[in-house]
Subunit: 198 residues, 2 copies
Amino acid sequence: MKAPSSLENLIEALRCLPGVGPKSAQRMAYHLLQRDQKGATKLAGALTHALDTIRHCRRCNSFTEEEICSLCRSERREASLLCVVETPADLMMMEQTQSYHGLYFVLMGRLSPLDGIGPKEIHLDRLIQRATDGAVNEVILATNFTVEGEATAHYIGEILRSRGVKASRIARGLPVGGELEHVDSGTLAQAILERREV
Amino acid sequence: MKAPSSLENLIEALRCLPGVGPKSAQRMAYHLLQRDQKGATKLAGALTHALDTIRHCRRCNSFTEEEICSLCRSERREASLLCVVETPADLMMMEQTQSYHGLYFVLMGRLSPLDGIGPKEIHLDRLIQRATDGAVNEVILATNFTVEGEATAHYIGEILRSRGVKASRIARGLPVGGELEHVDSGTLAQAILERREV
């Protein structure tokens, strides 16, 4: 006996969530329909609303519902510091350390020639324009310590140095091969303090 | 700095999923928006569609998109056997053992006086009507081996016996306190074979 097709579809659709396999997806689908239809309605609405309203900030590239995000508009942030991260989730991790008070630039990826992701895809032109606009004194490279993240940091560092912009790299306090999203705030805070010039 | 409100709402809404805490919800939300907007759209659609189309089978009470579900309509099932389970997910677990070929009745819960769930809420009238319609020779009680599941099986078993209907209980092959949803098919298959009269 097969489950109704719309239930099968829901189970299949839930598998787009990270870390959710066939068995978890099945449990989630039944849980929603049996015990939390209200939550399911809210989730469907929240997904649709987020997809409709979330766009990229024209300055930092992170997620926002406005032209320019509230962080970029804030007067309490040090405009002389620019931190480069791979994703909006990484930006959120940096914020949660409460150790950084400058501005951000989100690459929305990292250099990966094999996947067709080059300087254009990570918006390098916009980053360089931003870094050389006079307000920025230092660019902190906070890409992941993966092979691709390191290559991306090296590449951007070289270009910035050639243009006379000071660039630094967060300290390798994180485990090699690790990703920002999975690190505890304390370790990441240490890494921000121990950033070194490249 | 706070995330955009529609992103915060999405993170909050994802927490309705079983086993998803604040950190997982955050990772899921960013994953969907950064890397799988297509999957998110599909998920929102699947949720809405499932909520719209899924209802309860008029005969067995399980999830279906029709009046009477395909299992109840099937001519290949033994109409003389009726298996009572707590939820549609439990029914699915029974089916996955491929050891049972009768029909079902889904209580959509278990007796729990403290939560206000009495005989009416588990549709006991409909179950008794079904069990005494002449076609059913045996009712297999496959509620969970939790305190409430056991009490429910005992209660239903007593009533059926008083009406002259043979009732059996799946064998206590499952660990005490365990739930059908989490057991492997082999153990559950054994428990179906070793059911005992109550």
